[in-house]
């Protein structure tokens, strides 16, 4: 009888260990998922930017062209599948990230009275949870303004019979004080993305175990450049739209 109990206890222990190991619950596995989803989100940032830079042409033709692009992005099957994958990645990255940040907080219940972290690390690396939360709030706002409106909201029709997303964008950022606030929130979010990626870009490679005397310096340089150039290019769009107001 007792040996059966021992056997049972052993199985329980193994089950507990299994749950915590492998590619599910362990601390390192959680980071693999952060890294993979983060890198996927980075690739999305490039595609999304290239599409939206079309808004720098606000002529009638430019707007119509943008609406054709918007229709393509919401109807082409392969892109639709990729977009569902993207939504899942954002959700997973956010949930996993917030969970990690909470665990990390718990790992040091008592704070230091004297603490000089700037002597050994950069601010962004220590505030990924905060930066991510700002980004998440922005993603929700951004999607409710454009993604939701494009799919289910009230939206006009342009000369080609396409949903007129260009006008929705223009109104959002040109609409008096509200527009100004939207531009400001956009800029804050891009600053958060910049800091998030200034640390996150190279961190994602380290997490996957990629650390090489020749390639890591290149990854760090590319990451730093990416984290400044891409959010800056995004930030130009709403500022341009606002300034184009006549």
């Amino acid at each position: 009888m007792s040996s059966v109990l021992v056997k049972f206890a052993e199985t329980q222990n193994t089950a507990k260990k299994m749950a915590n190991s492998g590619l599910l619950g362990s601390s390192i596995a959680k980071k693999y998922w952060m890294s993979l989803t983060g890198l996927f989100l980075i690739s999305f940032l490039i595609v999304h930017l290239l599409g939206n830079l079309q808004l720098l042409d606000l002529s009638k033709e430019g707007q119509e062209q943008f609406n054709i692009y918007a229709k393509f992005m919401t109807s082409f099957p392969l892109i639709k599948i990729t977009s569902y994958f993207l939504y899942a990645s954002i959700l997973f990255h956010a949930v996993d990230g917030i969970y990690l940040a909470m665990q990390n907080r718990k790992a040091r219940p008592e704070r230091y009275a004297s603490y000089k972290p700037n002597r050994n690390s950069i601010w962004a690396s220590r505030n990924m949870g905060l930066l991510g939360t700002i980004i998440l709030a922005f993603i929700i706002l951004h999607m409710s303004q454009f993604w939701y409106t494009m799919h289910w909201g009230e939206i006009g029709i342009d000369a080609n019979g396409n949903k007129d997303l260009a006008t929705v964008v223009i109104q959002t950022y040109q609409d008096g004080t509200a527009g100004l606030i939207m531009v400001l929130l956009y800029l804050i979010a891009m600053a958060a993305v910049a800091f998030h990626l200034y640390h996150g870009f190279q961190s994602a490679f380290q997490t996957l175990g990629i650390n090489h005397s020749r390639y890591t310096p290149i990854i760090k340089t590319v990451g730093a450049a990416f984290s400044i150039i891409v959010p800056l290019a995004y930030a130009i769009i709403p500022v341009f739209v606002l300034m184009a107001k006549n």
């Binding site: 260990k17 915590n20 190991s21 492998g22 590619l23 362990s26 601390s27 390192i28 596995a29 959680k30 980071k31 693999y32 990690l100 665990q103 990390n104 718990k106 790992a107 040091r108 219940p109 008592e110 704070r111 230091y112 009275a113 004297s114 603490y115 000089k116 972290p117 002597r119 050994n120 690390s121 690396s125 220590r126 990924m128 640390h199 190279q202 961190s203 380290q206 997490t207 996957l208 175990g209 990629i210 650390n211």
Partner: protein, 250 residues
């Protein structure tokens, strides 16, 4: 020099601690930080007060026993040194110095500045060894050839003195630098490769069970490590763990 000290005093693990003010006068610039603490303790004992408990052993920078978070950094302001190797000439007359214990859920305070770092020992017990028969016959050190680069990397990893400074420095109280050094020093060598998969799985498991935080690649650990263990070891740990998770050994 004369110094003001703000030292964490805590009677035992379960009691609440607080920072208390002290003064030490005529501290020699040539004394080590621990000798300055000894001087303070002598005075406290003379007055019939409870001396400040702190860990120390070799006092020559090799055992990893001395700890303390000094002025916002583990082992104090000088990089690449343990607290016993930190000299008072690094401070100025009239300075106020904060002295706190290493802070982590996995390192409960025993008394004052002494914390229990047995969690690191349990991580080693979970897999930080090579199962060979060491009784009696001595093996020839050169029987198995090891490439110089691997030997050097393993040796560098093996310089980790297990002080826990990395945990104290990390904003997440993560032990990844320590674990990565201990995994690396063995997995780089032929004798250690045999058990590499079980080792990394079991050690990471134990690390998680002890309540250390996760690694955010902040890098504070490597900056503060007294012996200069590098982040490349953490990348190696990440690789080892990935391959151990994706491929089974049995």
């Amino acid at each position: 020099m004369d110094l003001k000290l703000k030292i964490w005093r805590q009677a035992n693990t379960n009691s609440k601690g607080s920072l208390k003010d002290y003064q030490v006068k005529n501290v020699s610039a040539d004394s080590s930080f621990l000798e300055m603490m000894d001087q303070l303790n002598e005075e406290l004992i003379d007055k019939g007060d409870d001396p400040v408990a702190f860990d120390h052993d070799c006092r020559e920078g090799i055992c990893g026993m001395c700890s303390m978070h000094i002025n916002g950094e583990p082992h104090g302001p000088e990089s690449g040194t343990t607290t016993c190797q930190l000299h008072m000439r690094k401070f100025k007359d009239g300075d106020t110095i904060y002295v706190e214990p290493f802070r982590a859920k996995a390192f409960p305070v025993l008394k004052d500045l002494a914390v229990d770092r047995a969690a690191l020992d349990r991580v080693i017990q979970a897999g930080g060894f090579v199962s060979v028969n060491t009784s009696g016959n001595t093996l020839d050190a050169n029987a198995i050839p090891v490439p110089k680069a691997d030997a050097d990397a393993a040796f560098n990893a093996a310089t980790c003195i297990g002080c826990g400074g990395c945990v104290a420095a990390c904003p997440n109280a993560s032990a990844m630098l320590f674990v990565s050094a201990k995994v690396s020093q063995l997995s780089l060598l032929p004798q250690g490769k045999v058990e590499a998969k079980e080792r990394v799985t079991n050690m990471v498991n134990q690390m998680d069970l002890e309540g250390f935080g996760n690694c955010s690649n902040v890098g504070a650990c490597a900056e503060e490590c007294p012996v200069g263990i590098s982040l490349e070891n953490i990348a190696r740990l990440n690789r080892e763990y990935l391959s151990a998770s994706l491929t089974s050994s049995k």
